[in-house]
Symmetry: C2
Subunit: 234 residues, 2 copies
DNA sequence: GCAAAAGTGTTATCGCTACACCCATGT
DNA sequence: ACATGGGTGTAGCGATAACACTTTTGC
C-alpha cells in the first residue's frame, strides 16, 4: 500500500470487523449440493446461512476459513479457494463487517455426520436454494457461477468425488453444472484422452449390475499434461 | 456469517485495518505496462509500490479502490475488478493490515500526466518489474496471471486501447500476453468472425504509411454474441 | 522506387459432434 | 429372460493452423 496518508494517520484509520464465510459444495450422485446451517445466534436466530466466523488474530484469511471448515465438517485438507469480498456498508445490520467468501469442495462420503448434526447443517440442492440471511444468497450465486466456470477448465470435480470414482459419476457432475446431458462416448473419449486418470481393476456396482471401473485422478499426470502445453477443457 | 460466537463475543472481536491496493495496467503499442509509485511515507519511503489506501468508513472496497484510482490517475469509469485478499500476519511490518488487491485497465492516452507526476508514478514493462515493498510483487504476479487468463475469454483488451483502435493494435496486445507472434490473417479472421466490432471509415496512420482502419468495440453486439450461445475465446 | 505495415484466401489437418448397438450382471 | 446402466467406433463437419503475395503510401 502506498498512499497520501502520513504515518500519523496510520493510527487514525478506523479498524473493521473481518469475517470469512464458506460456501461448501458436495455431490451426491444426483446433484450438486450446498451445506447450509441453521443460525444459532441473534440476530436472525433460526434462519439459514452459510457457515462463517470472524477471523482469528493469529490466522490469515485462508487459515481462518480452513478452521471454520474443520470445525463444522470435521474434515481437514479440504479444497478451499477465495471467492471474493463482500463489503457493502449495510450488509450486516449490526456492525460494519466485511466478509471474505470462500468456496470449498468436499466429498460427501467423508463427511462426519456427528459434526453436521451438532452444527445443525443440512444439504440443499444447488438449484433450489432457500432464503438465506444477509447477502449470503448473493455469495452462493457467485460461488456457483465461479464453480461452473472453473470446472470447465480446471480438474476440480474430482474433489467432489471419492478418491476412486467412475467415469459415469464424473460425467454426471458435468451434466449438473451444464444442465444438459452429455454424450457418454464423447465424454469418456475426451476425459481419457487427457491421460490424467489411472484405471483400477476394481468396479463400482452401486449404480448398475454390470458395474463400472473405478479410476483415480493422477496429479502428476495432470502436471505433465499442462507442461506439454495442453489445456484442460470440458 | 454464522458461527459459534455468541452475540456477546461480537464486540470482543479484534478489528483490523483494511486497505485496497491497485494494480494498474496500460498498453503503449509496444508492451503491457504497470503503473508503479514512489512511496512517500515511512516505512520504506522512496521504494516502489502499488498505489493504495486504507478503506474509507463510508465506502465499500470497490468504491474505495475506485477513489484511489481517480485520485492517482485523474480517470473515472475505469475497468476495475477485485483480484484477491492478502492477509498474512507479517505482510505489513507495522500493524496488522489486510489488503484487497484490485486490478485496473486504463487507456494510457487518457492518462492525466499532471496527476501522474504529482504522485510520482512511472510505467514499467510488465516483463521487467522492479522490487516492490511488502507483498506487492506477489500481487503483481497474481494480477498478470489473472489478466492473461481473462484476456483469453473475456473482451477486456479493448479497455487498454483507445475507443477507436486497429486490428494490428489489438493483435499486438494478445502477442504480449501470450508471448508469441500470431498469424495476422488468422487473428483478423477470428476476431472479426465474432461480429463484435464496428469498422469506421477512419484510418490510423501512426504505425504505417498505408494506415489501418479503426474499429470500435460494440458491447451490444457482444451481448448478442453471448446470448446466441457462443463463447469468446482467443 | 523502396521500405514497412495492412490486408486478403486456400488447403490440410485436427478435433468435435452425432449417432446405435452389444455387454455384463442382479433380480 | 429382462431390465439397467457400462462400454465401444465411425463418419461428416466445422474450426484451426499453416502458408505468400499484393496494396498503399511516406519518405
Amino acid at each position: 500500500m502506498n498512499t497520501t496518508n502520513t504515518s500519523a494517520e496510520y493510527i487514525k484509520q478506523e479498524k473493521i470487523l473481518v469475517a470469512v464465510d464458506c460456501i461448501i459444495f458436495g455431490f451426491d450422485s444426483e446433484s450438486i449440493k450446498l451445506l447450509l446451517f441453521k443460525r444459532r445466534v441473534e440476530p436472525l436466530k433460526g434462519s439459514l446461512s452459510l457457515i462463517g466466523s470472524f477471523i482469528k488474530n493469529d490466522l490469515n484469511l485462508n487459515d481462518s476459513a480452513k478452521l471454520v471448515l474443520e470445525e463444522s465438517t470435521g474434515l481437514k485438507d479440504i479444497f478451499l479457494k477465495e471467492l471474493r469480498t463482500y463489503s457493502n456498508l449495510d450488509r450486516d445490520p449490526g456492525n460494519r463487517v466485511i466478509s471474505v467468501a470462500h468456496y470449498a469442495l468436499i466429498r460427501i462420503n467423508e463427511l462426519d455426520i456427528k459434526n453436521v448434526e451438532e452444527y445443525d447443517a443440512h444439504w440443499f440442492d444447488f438449484n433450489d436454494i432457500p432464503n438465506l440471511i444477509f447477502d449470503h444468497r448473493q455469495m452462493v450465486d457467485d460461488a456457483i457461477h465461479r464453480l461452473r466456470d472453473e470446472a470447465r477448465r480446471e480438474p476440480i470435480c474430482f474433489k467432489l468425488l471419492p478418491e476412486e470414482f467412475t467415469i459415469p459419476q464424473l460425467q454426471s457432475i458435468y451434466e449438473c453444472f451444464y444442465q444438459k446431458n452429455l454424450d457418454s462416448r464423447n465424454f469418456r473419449k475426451k476425459i481419457l484422452s487427457f491421460n490424467i486418470l489411472n484405471k483400477t481393476e476394481k468396479k463400482d456396482k452401486t449404480a448398475s449390475k454390470k458395474g463400472a471401473f473405478l479410476y483415480v485422478y493422477d496429479k502428476e499426470k495432470f502436471d505433465d499434461f499442462i507442461a506439454k502445453g495442453n489445456r484442460f477443457q470440458l
